[in-house]
């Protein structure tokens, strides 16, 4: 193993214990992966296969029932390690704060001067195209802009590993492609390592260096696809002939898994 692995996930499995009449749920089994420093890794998988659970485990929000996670050589467990930033699937912007104060939230209360905070927040707000809305409340913004607020709030902390859990799932196709460009720009400029969870084949194929395809629940990786894109790529790669090859390869794997996930849902609801 090289020494510049940003993240190692070793034989991770997770079972949610039974609560209030519902049986226990095995969300993940034997998940193993390695992401190199500066790499852009995407995870795709059918709905409910355990992608968000995997992200929570990597972030240190959930302690896995089996296996272990190592971030920059240190074991992750119970707490969120320094240098790791997360943007969640749900809207996590704070409605009682302006866009500016939302972005500044994680910086306040740290040993940083007011000028430094202003500079960093200003940069992040500009970068995410939110300058005009700095004084607005999240309730005055669209869902996509609120996710950009959350992204900016994570960015100002200068994370070395950024975890993105379907941050653009609620956006229309065009906006998604453009947000994809933003994420690529961010990735190049910060030279951070990015782990993106998505259920969009296009998004994974366009953004990532490598794509891990997860099985239906209990989730584990059934295939890893290299895209071979240059670091300076952008959304225009979707017209590259190789783009079609990648998505069709992803789809052939994902189709089986999605069918299995749906079939399982159908039989279990029929049994109820």
């Amino acid at each position: 193993m090289g020494n510049d692995a940003a993240l190692l996930v070793e034989s991770v499995g997770h079972v949610f214990p039974a609560i209030q009449g519902r049986g226990s749920v095995r969300a993940l089994t034997e998940v193993t992966m390695r992401i190199d420093s500066g790499e852009f890794f995407a995870v795709i998988g059918p709905s409910g296969c355990g992608k968000s659970t995997l992200l929570d485990i990597i972030a240190g929000l959930i302690v896995p029932s089996e296996g272990r996670v190592i971030f920059e050589g240190k074991l992750v467990g119970g707490t969120v390690p320094e240098g790791l930033g997360v943007v969640f699937q749900e809207d996590a912007s704070f409605p009682w704060l302006s866009v500016w104060d939302n972005v500044a939230f994680g910086l306040r209360g740290r040993k940083l001067g007011a000028a430094e905070i202003r500079r960093r927040v200003g940069d992040a707000v500009d970068f995410m195209g939110l300058s005009e809305f700095a004084g607005h409340r999240p309730s005055q913004l669209s869902g996509g802009m609120r996710q950009r607020v959350c992204l900016a709030r994570t960015l100002v902390l200068r994370p070395r590993l950024i975890l993105l859990d379907e941050p653009f799932a609620a956006l229309d196709q065009q906006t998604r492609l453009l947000m994809g460009d933003e994420v690529l720009r961010l990735w190049r400029q910060t030279s951070a390592t990015v782990l993106l969870i998505t259920h969009s084949l296009d998004e994974a194929a366009m953004l990532a260096d490598r794509i891990g395809v997860m099985s239906s629940r209990p989730g584990h990786f059934v295939e890893t696809v290299m895209t071979g894109w240059h670091r300076t790529r952008d959304s225009r790669v979707i017209s590259d002939p190789r783009f079609g090859d990648i998505t069709s390869r992803l789809w052939s794997k994902l189709r089986q898994e999605s069918l299995r996930a749906m079939g399982r849902a159908a039989t279990s609801s029929a049994a109820d």
């Binding site: 929000l61 707490t79 320094e82 997360v86 969640f88 996590a92 704070f94 009682w96 994570t154 902390l157």
Partner: protein
């Protein structure tokens, strides 16, 4: 944003006007002795307020109300935080609060009288009995219903527990807590007045009871209108505070 406010004031004025007209008509129908008309009531309010003994009654009620309100709000808030923040405490004691809200408080009056006797303590206790449980229940619910993604965000933003409380939890639940305070404001007043009616020898509630005893309809109505005005103004003021936070 001046025109919407203006419009809402106009609407309020219109509603009040309709109320006054209906009052006048009903008064004419049932007779001025049974229901004195608005103008006569306004005159009587003036007479009542000018009475030297009124100041004393008002001061008595105001003092008891202030204490009941303070205990209801802070106590309710403290219990709400306890119930919402520590689930096993909430699970054992919150049902008690719900029971307190659901049972007609009249059934508890003898108990309060036994515990506190006649006097100020009893009427304050009545006020607290009415005002505190809603604050505790609403606060606990607001804390319990905090979006899970906020808790996760707090951890990924590496907030300390105290920062989580001050910078995230409190601002997130304040709108609900202010709403609870508005309920407490009205309920505690009701409690204190009822307490004075049954368990006191002074205060506005006692004055009301005495007027009922001698069939003094103008005074009864004057007191009702005064209390109504006070509660209405207080509620509007608290609403304004809530609205300002939102904009």
């Amino acid at each position: 944003m001046s025109s919407p406010t203006l419009a809402s004031w106009r609407d309020t004025g219109f509603v009040i006007l309709i109320g006054l007209v209906i009052w006048q008509l009903v008064s004419m129908a049932v007779g001025a002795h049974t229901l004195p008309p608005p103008l006569a009531t306004a005159k009587h309010i003036f007479v009542l307020v000018m009475r030297p003994s009124f100041d004393r009654d008002l001061a008595n009620t105001a003092a008891a109300y202030a204490v009941a309100l303070a205990i209801g709000m802070t106590g309710g808030l403290a219990l709400g935080v306890l119930f919402g923040g520590w689930r096993f405490i909430g699970q054992s004691f919150e049902p008690l609060m719900h029971l307190l809200v659901a049972t007609p408080k009249v059934t508890l009056y003898p108990v309060i009288l036994l515990l506190f006797g006649l006097g100020d303590a009893a009427k304050i206790a009545f006020g607290v009995l009415h005002g505190l449980p809603p604050v505790a229940i609403i606060t606990a619910a607001a804390i319990g219903n905090l979006k899970p993604v906020y808790r996760k965000s707090a951890r990924t933003l590496r907030l300390k527990p105290s920062e989580f409380a001050w910078r995230l939890l409190i601002p997130a639940v304040i709108p609900e807590v202010l709403g609870a305070f508005r309920i407490c404001f009205a309920q505690a007043l009701l409690g204190v007045l009822v307490g004075e009616m049954f368990a006191s020898t002074n205060g506005i509630g006692h004055l009301l009871m005495a007027s009922i005893g001698v069939d003094d309809n103008p005074t009864i109505l004057a007191i009702v209108v005064l209390v109504f005005l006070f509660a209405g103004c207080g509620s509007v003021a608290l609403l304004a505070v809530t609205a300002r936070r939102k904009s």
